[in-house]
């Protein structure tokens, strides 16, 4: 276990992972009622990745996320209530109901946005890292992307650029095995996405994304290197998503017991709990107290989102330009 993790870190990590899980499980239930519009892509099962990485980040560090972005938002410090309201398309949402699930963003906490374009965040994070470098801060930029985006030219361009300019960047490839409905075994031409790192002149590291501690340790090394001017890293996190590509996906491409087996044997929250309790670092009662607290918080967010006002007709034409005369 990483020596840098304090008891407070562990509590925070657990709370973050539990919050993501509860947020996503609740969305799964609520989406089925038909009250939530649009596409919703759930992060449940992948919590250890966002949490293990973002625990190293400061508010001035920036992340770029994906269509499956709720977990990154929460791990980077976004409040759940404005996120939930956004997903419901309400005026009280973090983006005023104009972005929705695929575009939740909060620059105040360094979250540059989920992104509906697969791979779209790679170039953006190069710019965030470049700005940090030019301003002389030791800020970093982290680009989360999936196995699908690993085949997008803009991600490959971004990794090349990051090395050419020795940017303080981390590329986190969350390989959940499926790009939409297509297996990464079919669509990724090499055995591991991290194998491509050498081609871009950066270290490539593979970690088990069910293991918070493994992610935290690997990300910590990469982020420390980036802050110190050592350039970018490609970190491949192998994990699983518990739901379909989007809510409503029939998942005909997965074995019927595939998710059940993973939940029972490799669930990141279960593994975390087992490890901290057997090591005597945290006791189950305090984790259960967090569970209750998080459940209440998510419930309140859903209740508030449902009751919140919709954007008005006057909101239609705003936020296209700051100035337009």
């Amino acid at each position: 276990m990483s020596a840098t993790l304090t008891r407070d870190d562990l509590l925070r990590a657990y709370r973050t992972m539990r919050t993501i899980r509860e947020f996503e499980e609740r969305l799964h239930v609520e989406f089925a009622t038909g009250e939530i519009p649009g596409f919703v892509h759930l992060y449940a099962g992948e919590e250890a990745s966002a949490t293990g990485v973002c625990l190293h980040l400061r508010p001035d560090d920036r992340i770029a996320s994906t269509h499956r972005g709720h977990g990154h938002c929460i791990a980077k410090g976004m409040e759940v209530a404005p996120m939930m309201a956004e997903i419901y398309g309400k005026k009280t949402g973090i983006c005023g109901g104009k972005g929705g699930s695929m575009h939740v963003a909060d620059l105040d906490v360094g979250m540059m946005g989920a992104n509906g374009i697969v791979g779209g965040g790679g170039p953006l994070i190069c710019g965030a890292a470049l700005a940090a470098k030019m301003k002389g801060t030791d800020g970093v930029g982290v680009c989360f992307f999936g196995d699908g985006a690993s085949n997008q030219g803009m991600i490959l361009e971004a990794m090349n650029l990051a090395t050419v300019w020795r940017l303080p960047a981390l590329f986190v490839a969350e390989n959940n095995g499926y790009a939409e409905a297509t297996s990464s075994k079919y669509s990724v031409a090499c055995d591991n996405i991290a194998d491509r790192a050498g081609g871009f002149g950066m270290p490539g590291v593979i970690v088990d994304g069910h293991d918070f501690f493994a992610v935290h340790e690997a990300a910590g090394e990469a982020i420390a290197r980036a802050r110190a001017g050592g350039g970018p890293t490609l970190l491949e996190v192998k994990l699983n998503r518990y739901y379909g590509h989007f809510e409503g996906d029939q998942q005909t491409y997965r074995a019927t017991d595939e998710v059940k087996r993973i939940r029972e044997t490799r669930d990141c929250l279960m593994l975390f709990t087992r490890r901290v309790s057997s090591a005597g670092l945290l006791d189950l009662a305090e984790l259960e107290a967090i569970d209750r607290d998080v459940a209440a918080q998510i419930d309140a967010a859903v209740v508030a989102a449902k009751a919140a006002p919709k954007p008005t007709a006057a909101d239609l034409l705003t936020d296209v330009y700051v100035e337009y005369a």
């Binding site: 920036r62 575009h103 620059l107 710019g127 301003k135 930029g141 803009m154 090349n160 936020d319 296209v320």
Partner: protein, 329 residues
């Protein structure tokens, strides 16, 4: 007032130099902008003056470096991104549309993108169909962008600073045939208003509405029309989004005839949009249907006489304008 002799290319360089001196957040990046001095020699000498951090060569990765410009703008910088030609900008169209133009709205007004992208546009250099098109009309279609087309030395010198002061993404289209345009500017030339079209030549009989690389041809046409007794007014749009409807409509109301000269393809063009606005707002002022002179609807050919035939020319503008005024086109 003291003046300096300069070119369109040098005027842009001076504008970049001024911006780099005035604002430490400004930097220039693009393909070969540094040691090579820019593919059109616009940034020649700037590397020596400002160093490689601020005159930043990029890999040939339009998507990555345009996106990086967006990310850097969000990070508090004021990047000037140079794309070699508008045809290559299509490799970054996703970043320009799906991020730069859209982030302010998607984020509910949280983050604006103060980014300036400069690129060359237009044909006439026998570079054929992947280096010669005029796609600025496509960009003018996109809400969230401001689109500028400097056609004069004054605008080449002055639009950049105004664009950098704009809190939203601005695209500046420089017609490649304008770079060698020479003339004089006041020694203290600086920022210009980027919101209004300009009447470049007043006239009473017909409004010739154009922008960018077509302005010199249109002014030539107006001069020759004057010799045959037709007094043409020439409007330089300058801003392609937003369009300055008021200046266009005031001109058309006075001349009662309009010819739009646009190097883009006719179908779905900027010329089509301007024509529609005139119909919507000044239909009963017109003495003749609005006419358009656009590029032939073919990919730009290589052979010189074919390319010249594909592009708007002064002769065509004269013939069309004469037809509107005298009814004998």
């Amino acid at each position: 007032m003291s003046t300096v002799t300069t070119t369109y290319r040098e005027a842009i360089r001076e504008a970049i130099r001024e911006a780099l001196r005035r604002d430490p957040r400004v930097f220039l990046m693009g393909e070969d902008v540094g040691a090579y001095g820019g593919c059109f020699a616009v940034s020649k000498g700037l590397l020596d003056e400002f160093g490689p951090e601020r005159i930043r060569d990029t890999p040939l990765s339009e998507s990555a470096f345009v996106g990086a410009g967006i990310g850097a703008a969000l990070g508090g910088m004021r990047p000037i991104v140079e794309i070699m030609t508008v045809n290559f900008s299509l490799l970054a169209l996703d970043q320009i549309l799906n991020n730069a133009a859209t982030l302010l709205h998607m984020s509910g007004g949280q983050f604006n993108v103060p980014l300036v992208i400069r690129m060359t546009t237009g044909g006439g250099r026998q570079l054929a169909a992947q280096h010669s098109h005029s796609l600025e009309g496509w960009y003018a279609h996109i809400p969230g962008l401001r689109v500028l087309a400097p056609a004069t030395l004054e605008d080449a010198r002055g639009m950049l600073w105004s664009a950098l002061e704009d809190p939203d993404p601005v695209l500046i289209f420089e017609h490649a045939l304008l770079y060698n345009q020479a003339g004089t500017l006041p020694a203290d030339a600086g920022a210009v208003d980027i919101r209004r079209a300009r009447v470049r030549r007043p006239g009473r009989d017909v409004s010739l509405i154009t922008y960018g690389g077509s302005l010199p041809k249109t002014l030539e046409a107006a001069g020759r029309l004057a010799a045959e007794g037709i007094d043409a007014e020439v409007i330089d749009l300058r801003s392609l989004r937003p369009l300055d409807d008021a200046t266009i409509l005031a001109s058309v109301a006075a001349t009662r005839r309009a010819v739009i000269v646009d190097e883009g393809w006719r179908s779905g063009s900027l010329a089509a949009e301007i024509s529609a606005r005139i119909m919507e707002n000044a239909f009963y002022e017109l003495d003749a249907p609005v006419a358009r002179v656009c590029s032939a609807e073919v990919p730009m050919p290589y052979a010189r006489h074919l390319e010249q035939a594909a592009l708007p020319q002064a002769d065509t503008v004269i013939r069309v304008a004469r037809g509107l005024v005298r009814g004998d086109g």
